[in-house]
Symmetry: C2
Subunit: 153 residues, 2 copies
DNA sequence: CTTGACCTTGTACCTCACTCCACAGTTTAT
DNA sequence: ATAAACTGTGGAGTGAGGTACAAGGTCAAG
Protein backbone atom coordinates (compact mmCIF):
# COMPACT_ATOMS: atom_id res chain seq x y z
CA UNK A 1 0.00 0.00 0.00
CA UNK A 2 1.03 3.58 -0.61
CA UNK A 3 3.70 2.65 -3.07
CA UNK A 4 3.30 5.26 -5.75
CA UNK A 5 0.23 7.19 -4.80
CA UNK A 6 1.96 10.51 -4.30
CA UNK A 7 4.60 12.29 -2.26
CA UNK A 8 4.37 12.55 1.49
CA UNK A 9 4.63 15.92 3.16
CA UNK A 10 8.19 15.24 4.29
CA UNK A 11 9.27 14.28 0.78
CA UNK A 12 7.79 17.41 -0.66
CA UNK A 13 9.43 19.52 2.02
CA UNK A 14 12.83 17.99 1.35
CA UNK A 15 12.53 18.39 -2.40
CA UNK A 16 11.26 21.93 -2.28
CA UNK A 17 13.68 22.92 0.46
CA UNK A 18 11.13 24.18 2.95
CA UNK A 19 10.10 23.23 6.46
CA UNK A 20 7.50 20.46 6.67
CA UNK A 21 5.18 22.68 8.64
CA UNK A 22 5.42 25.40 6.04
CA UNK A 23 3.51 23.17 3.67
CA UNK A 24 0.69 22.74 6.14
CA UNK A 25 0.75 26.49 6.75
CA UNK A 26 0.46 27.23 3.04
CA UNK A 27 -2.45 24.86 2.85
CA UNK A 28 -4.13 26.60 5.78
CA UNK A 29 -3.91 29.99 4.14
CA UNK A 30 -5.09 28.67 0.81
CA UNK A 31 -1.81 28.95 -1.03
CA UNK A 32 -1.66 25.24 -1.69
CA UNK A 33 -4.73 23.15 -2.49
CA UNK A 34 -5.93 20.50 -0.06
CA UNK A 35 -4.19 17.41 -1.43
CA UNK A 36 -5.54 13.90 -1.80
CA UNK A 37 -5.37 11.74 1.30
CA UNK A 38 -4.47 8.13 1.82
CA UNK A 39 -7.04 5.99 3.61
CA UNK A 40 -5.17 6.64 6.85
CA UNK A 41 -5.25 10.39 6.30
CA UNK A 42 -1.75 11.04 4.98
CA UNK A 43 -1.46 13.90 2.51
CA UNK A 44 -0.51 12.63 -0.94
CA UNK A 45 1.02 15.18 -3.30
CA UNK A 46 1.53 15.03 -7.05
CA UNK A 47 5.12 15.84 -8.03
CA UNK A 48 4.11 19.20 -9.51
CA UNK A 49 3.61 20.59 -6.05
CA UNK A 50 7.36 20.89 -5.66
CA UNK A 51 7.65 23.31 -8.56
CA UNK A 52 4.63 25.12 -7.21
CA UNK A 53 6.30 25.69 -3.84
CA UNK A 54 9.49 26.76 -5.57
CA UNK A 55 7.50 29.32 -7.51
CA UNK A 56 6.06 30.67 -4.26
CA UNK A 57 9.48 30.90 -2.68
CA UNK A 58 10.92 32.66 -5.69
CA UNK A 59 8.13 35.19 -5.86
CA UNK A 60 8.46 35.74 -2.14
CA UNK A 61 12.18 36.35 -2.27
CA UNK A 62 11.41 38.90 -4.96
CA UNK A 63 9.32 40.89 -2.56
CA UNK A 64 5.80 39.62 -3.08
CA UNK A 65 3.69 38.81 -0.05
CA UNK A 66 1.97 35.46 0.23
CA UNK A 67 -1.25 37.29 -0.39
CA UNK A 68 -0.03 38.77 -3.65
CA UNK A 69 1.36 35.43 -4.66
CA UNK A 70 -2.01 33.88 -4.02
CA UNK A 71 -3.52 36.44 -6.37
CA UNK A 72 -0.95 35.74 -9.05
CA UNK A 73 -1.65 32.03 -8.77
CA UNK A 74 -5.37 32.63 -8.97
CA UNK A 75 -4.73 34.61 -12.13
CA UNK A 76 -2.69 31.82 -13.63
CA UNK A 77 -5.10 29.08 -12.64
CA UNK A 78 -8.12 30.88 -13.93
CA UNK A 79 -6.17 31.36 -17.14
CA UNK A 80 -7.79 28.30 -18.60
CA UNK A 81 -10.60 30.67 -19.42
CA UNK A 82 -9.04 34.11 -19.61
CA UNK A 83 -10.84 37.40 -19.41
CA UNK A 84 -10.00 41.06 -19.57
CA UNK A 85 -9.81 41.46 -15.83
CA UNK A 86 -7.22 38.72 -15.47
CA UNK A 87 -5.08 40.23 -18.18
CA UNK A 88 -5.37 43.64 -16.62
CA UNK A 89 -4.27 42.45 -13.20
CA UNK A 90 -1.41 40.45 -14.62
CA UNK A 91 -0.33 43.46 -16.66
CA UNK A 92 -0.29 45.51 -13.46
CA UNK A 93 1.93 42.92 -11.81
CA UNK A 94 4.35 43.20 -14.70
CA UNK A 95 4.45 46.97 -14.36
CA UNK A 96 5.15 46.54 -10.69
CA UNK A 97 8.06 44.24 -11.41
CA UNK A 98 9.45 46.72 -13.94
CA UNK A 99 9.26 49.45 -11.35
CA UNK A 100 11.05 47.27 -8.84
CA UNK A 101 13.82 46.50 -11.30
CA UNK A 102 14.27 50.19 -12.02
CA UNK A 103 14.46 51.03 -8.33
CA UNK A 104 16.94 48.28 -7.66
CA UNK A 105 19.09 49.52 -10.50
CA UNK A 106 19.02 53.01 -9.09
CA UNK A 107 19.87 51.75 -5.63
CA UNK A 108 22.71 49.77 -7.09
CA UNK A 109 24.06 52.96 -8.63
CA UNK A 110 23.89 54.69 -5.29
CA UNK A 111 25.93 52.02 -3.55
CA UNK A 112 28.31 51.62 -6.48
CA UNK A 113 29.02 55.34 -6.51
CA UNK A 114 29.85 55.13 -2.86
CA UNK A 115 32.08 52.14 -3.39
CA UNK A 116 33.93 53.93 -6.18
CA UNK A 117 34.51 56.83 -3.89
CA UNK A 118 36.03 54.42 -1.41
CA UNK A 119 38.27 52.88 -4.03
CA UNK A 120 39.71 56.25 -4.92
CA UNK A 121 40.86 56.87 -1.37
CA UNK A 122 43.90 54.78 -0.45
CA UNK A 123 43.86 52.64 2.66
CA UNK A 124 45.05 54.48 5.67
CA UNK A 125 46.52 51.82 7.84
CA UNK A 126 46.13 53.72 11.08
CA UNK A 127 42.38 54.29 11.25
CA UNK A 128 41.55 51.23 9.15
CA UNK A 129 42.29 48.81 11.91
CA UNK A 130 39.84 50.39 14.31
CA UNK A 131 37.12 50.87 11.76
CA UNK A 132 37.33 47.31 10.53
CA UNK A 133 37.31 46.00 14.04
CA UNK A 134 34.17 48.00 14.61
CA UNK A 135 32.50 46.58 11.54
CA UNK A 136 33.64 43.11 12.47
CA UNK A 137 31.89 43.37 15.81
CA UNK A 138 28.91 44.62 13.88
CA UNK A 139 26.75 44.86 16.99
CA UNK A 140 24.07 47.41 17.64
CA UNK A 141 26.33 50.38 18.20
CA UNK A 142 26.51 52.49 15.09
CA UNK A 143 26.83 56.04 16.24
CA UNK A 144 26.58 57.72 12.90
CA UNK A 145 26.87 61.21 14.29
CA UNK A 146 26.31 63.99 11.76
CA UNK A 147 29.83 64.15 10.35
CA UNK A 148 30.12 67.91 10.78
CA UNK A 149 27.29 69.87 12.28
CA UNK A 150 27.08 71.49 15.60
CA UNK A 151 24.13 73.77 16.31
CA UNK A 152 21.50 72.19 18.41
CA UNK A 153 19.08 74.19 20.54
CA UNK B 1 12.73 78.91 22.62
CA UNK B 2 13.18 76.05 20.15
CA UNK B 3 12.97 78.24 17.11
CA UNK B 4 15.52 76.72 14.81
CA UNK B 5 17.30 74.11 16.85
CA UNK B 6 16.22 71.13 14.77
CA UNK B 7 13.23 69.18 13.61
CA UNK B 8 10.81 67.59 16.02
CA UNK B 9 9.93 63.95 15.69
CA UNK B 10 6.56 64.74 14.18
CA UNK B 11 8.10 67.04 11.57
CA UNK B 12 10.60 64.40 10.56
CA UNK B 13 7.87 61.80 10.35
CA UNK B 14 5.74 64.00 8.12
CA UNK B 15 8.63 64.90 5.84
CA UNK B 16 9.91 61.35 5.53
CA UNK B 17 6.44 59.89 5.23
CA UNK B 18 6.65 57.47 8.12
CA UNK B 19 4.80 57.00 11.38
CA UNK B 20 6.12 59.05 14.28
CA UNK B 21 6.67 55.94 16.34
CA UNK B 22 8.71 54.35 13.59
CA UNK B 23 11.40 56.93 14.22
CA UNK B 24 11.59 56.00 17.87
CA UNK B 25 11.64 52.34 16.89
CA UNK B 26 14.54 52.90 14.49
CA UNK B 27 16.39 54.69 17.24
CA UNK B 28 15.76 51.81 19.64
CA UNK B 29 17.21 49.25 17.26
CA UNK B 30 20.20 51.41 16.42
CA UNK B 31 19.19 52.31 12.91
CA UNK B 32 19.04 56.00 13.70
CA UNK B 33 21.46 57.73 16.08
CA UNK B 34 20.25 59.13 19.36
CA UNK B 35 19.54 62.75 18.42
CA UNK B 36 20.23 65.90 20.36
CA UNK B 37 17.61 66.84 22.93
CA UNK B 38 16.06 70.12 23.92
CA UNK B 39 16.27 71.09 27.58
CA UNK B 40 12.82 69.60 28.09
CA UNK B 41 13.84 66.35 26.46
CA UNK B 42 12.39 66.73 22.98
CA UNK B 43 14.37 65.05 20.21
CA UNK B 44 15.93 67.59 17.85
CA UNK B 45 16.89 66.29 14.41
CA UNK B 46 19.12 67.80 11.76
CA UNK B 47 17.39 67.97 8.36
CA UNK B 48 19.61 65.19 6.93
CA UNK B 49 17.73 62.63 8.97
CA UNK B 50 14.86 62.83 6.49
CA UNK B 51 17.03 61.62 3.62
CA UNK B 52 18.43 59.00 5.90
CA UNK B 53 14.99 57.59 6.66
CA UNK B 54 14.09 57.73 3.00
CA UNK B 55 17.18 55.67 2.25
CA UNK B 56 16.12 53.09 4.81
CA UNK B 57 12.63 52.89 3.33
CA UNK B 58 13.94 52.54 -0.18
CA UNK B 59 16.36 49.78 0.76
CA UNK B 60 13.61 48.06 2.68
CA UNK B 61 11.17 48.14 -0.20
CA UNK B 62 13.92 46.55 -2.24
CA UNK B 63 13.97 43.55 0.02
CA UNK B 64 16.64 44.33 2.58
CA UNK B 65 15.90 43.69 6.24
CA UNK B 66 16.47 46.43 8.78
CA UNK B 67 19.41 44.41 10.00
CA UNK B 68 21.02 44.35 6.58
CA UNK B 69 20.32 48.03 6.15
CA UNK B 70 22.05 48.69 9.43
CA UNK B 71 25.08 46.88 8.08
CA UNK B 72 25.04 48.86 4.87
CA UNK B 73 24.85 52.08 6.83
CA UNK B 74 27.69 51.01 9.07
CA UNK B 75 29.70 50.39 5.94
CA UNK B 76 28.91 53.82 4.58
CA UNK B 77 29.55 55.61 7.81
CA UNK B 78 32.86 53.94 8.44
CA UNK B 79 33.76 54.93 4.90
CA UNK B 80 35.45 58.07 6.13
CA UNK B 81 38.44 55.80 6.59
CA UNK B 82 37.93 52.94 4.18
CA UNK B 83 39.57 49.58 4.36
CA UNK B 84 39.63 46.40 2.35
CA UNK B 85 36.98 44.75 4.47
CA UNK B 86 34.48 47.55 3.92
CA UNK B 87 35.02 47.47 0.19
CA UNK B 88 34.69 43.72 0.15
CA UNK B 89 31.38 43.75 2.04
CA UNK B 90 29.99 46.54 -0.08
CA UNK B 91 31.05 44.69 -3.20
CA UNK B 92 29.17 41.66 -1.92
CA UNK B 93 26.05 43.77 -1.45
CA UNK B 94 26.35 44.93 -5.04
CA UNK B 95 26.61 41.36 -6.25
CA UNK B 96 23.52 40.54 -4.23
CA UNK B 97 21.61 43.36 -5.86
CA UNK B 98 22.73 42.20 -9.29
CA UNK B 99 21.48 38.73 -8.50
CA UNK B 100 18.16 40.12 -7.38
CA UNK B 101 17.78 42.13 -10.56
CA UNK B 102 18.53 39.05 -12.64
CA UNK B 103 15.97 37.00 -10.73
CA UNK B 104 13.33 39.68 -11.07
CA UNK B 105 13.97 39.86 -14.78
CA UNK B 106 13.60 36.12 -15.07
CA UNK B 107 10.39 36.17 -13.05
CA UNK B 108 9.07 38.94 -15.22
CA UNK B 109 9.68 36.77 -18.25
CA UNK B 110 7.75 33.96 -16.67
CA UNK B 111 4.70 36.08 -16.02
CA UNK B 112 4.96 37.86 -19.35
CA UNK B 113 5.04 34.56 -21.19
CA UNK B 114 1.91 33.54 -19.39
CA UNK B 115 0.22 36.82 -20.17
CA UNK B 116 1.11 36.48 -23.81
CA UNK B 117 -0.44 33.06 -23.82
CA UNK B 118 -3.60 34.60 -22.40
CA UNK B 119 -3.65 37.33 -25.01
CA UNK B 120 -3.56 34.79 -27.80
CA UNK B 121 -6.72 33.14 -26.55
CA UNK B 122 -9.84 35.17 -27.28
CA UNK B 123 -12.28 35.94 -24.49
CA UNK B 124 -14.93 33.32 -24.12
CA UNK B 125 -17.82 35.18 -22.69
CA UNK B 126 -19.47 32.16 -21.13
CA UNK B 127 -16.83 31.01 -18.65
CA UNK B 128 -15.26 34.45 -18.30
CA UNK B 129 -18.05 35.82 -16.21
CA UNK B 130 -17.80 33.14 -13.59
CA UNK B 131 -14.02 33.18 -13.45
CA UNK B 132 -13.81 36.93 -13.08
CA UNK B 133 -16.47 36.92 -10.42
CA UNK B 134 -14.38 34.37 -8.58
CA UNK B 135 -11.28 36.50 -8.84
CA UNK B 136 -13.21 39.55 -7.80
CA UNK B 137 -14.28 37.88 -4.58
CA UNK B 138 -10.66 36.91 -4.22
CA UNK B 139 -11.24 35.23 -0.86
CA UNK B 140 -9.37 32.28 0.47
CA UNK B 141 -10.88 29.71 -1.83
CA UNK B 142 -8.59 28.94 -4.73
CA UNK B 143 -8.96 25.28 -5.39
CA UNK B 144 -6.32 24.91 -8.02
CA UNK B 145 -6.83 21.23 -8.48
CA UNK B 146 -4.23 19.52 -10.68
CA UNK B 147 -5.74 20.35 -14.03
CA UNK B 148 -5.71 16.77 -15.23
CA UNK B 149 -4.40 14.06 -12.98
CA UNK B 150 -6.32 11.38 -11.25
CA UNK B 151 -4.38 8.52 -9.68
CA UNK B 152 -4.16 8.79 -6.00
CA UNK B 153 -3.50 5.88 -3.61
C1' DC C 1 5.65 -7.77 16.98
C1' DT C 2 8.28 -4.16 18.29
C1' DT C 3 11.14 -0.21 16.94
C1' DG C 4 11.80 3.87 14.54
C1' DA C 5 10.56 7.00 11.19
C1' DC C 6 7.07 8.72 9.35
C1' DC C 7 2.24 10.86 9.58
C1' DT C 8 -2.16 13.35 11.88
C1' DT C 9 -4.32 17.27 14.73
C1' DG C 10 -4.75 21.54 17.40
C1' DT C 11 -2.52 25.00 19.67
C1' DA C 12 1.28 27.71 21.33
C1' DC C 13 5.07 30.14 20.39
C1' DC C 14 8.65 32.92 17.69
C1' DT C 15 10.76 36.95 14.97
C1' DC C 16 10.27 41.08 12.44
C1' DA C 17 8.68 45.51 11.86
C1' DC C 18 5.97 48.25 13.39
C1' DT C 19 1.87 50.68 15.97
C1' DC C 20 -0.78 51.89 19.88
C1' DC C 21 -1.53 53.13 24.55
C1' DA C 22 -1.75 55.55 29.03
C1' DC C 23 -0.08 58.90 31.61
C1' DA C 24 2.65 62.90 32.09
C1' DG C 25 5.21 67.20 30.75
C1' DT C 26 5.78 71.23 27.12
C1' DT C 27 4.73 74.55 23.78
C1' DT C 28 1.61 77.44 20.97
C1' DA C 29 -2.59 79.68 19.68
C1' DT C 30 -6.59 82.28 21.15
C1' DA D 1 -5.06 81.32 31.29
C1' DT D 2 -6.52 77.55 29.30
C1' DA D 3 -7.11 74.44 25.55
C1' DA D 4 -5.13 72.13 21.72
C1' DA D 5 -1.43 70.04 19.88
C1' DC D 6 2.65 68.65 20.50
C1' DT D 7 6.40 65.79 23.15
C1' DG D 8 8.29 62.09 26.49
C1' DT D 9 8.34 57.00 28.62
C1' DG D 10 7.81 51.92 29.03
C1' DG D 11 5.37 48.38 27.59
C1' DA D 12 1.61 45.93 25.25
C1' DG D 13 -0.58 44.63 20.91
C1' DT D 14 -0.71 43.61 15.80
C1' DG D 15 -0.06 41.06 11.43
C1' DA D 16 2.79 38.37 8.48
C1' DG D 17 5.15 34.34 8.06
C1' DG D 18 6.40 30.76 9.91
C1' DT D 19 8.09 26.85 13.74
C1' DA D 20 7.57 23.82 17.65
C1' DC D 21 5.22 20.64 20.41
C1' DA D 22 2.36 17.08 22.50
C1' DA D 23 -0.51 13.21 22.00
C1' DG D 24 -1.55 9.94 19.14
C1' DG D 25 -1.98 6.86 14.56
C1' DT D 26 0.53 4.29 10.58
C1' DC D 27 3.90 1.72 8.15
C1' DA D 28 8.28 -0.87 6.60
C1' DA D 29 12.24 -3.42 8.48
C1' DG D 30 14.33 -6.55 11.43
Amino acid sequence: MMKDAGLLRGDVARRAGVHRETIRYYERIGLLPRPARSRSGYRLYPPEVVAHIEFIKRAQSLGFSLDEIRQIIQLSRSGRSPCARVRQLLGAKLKEIDRRIAELTEFRQELAAFLEELESVPDQVDSSAQVCALIERSSINITMKPKSSGRRE
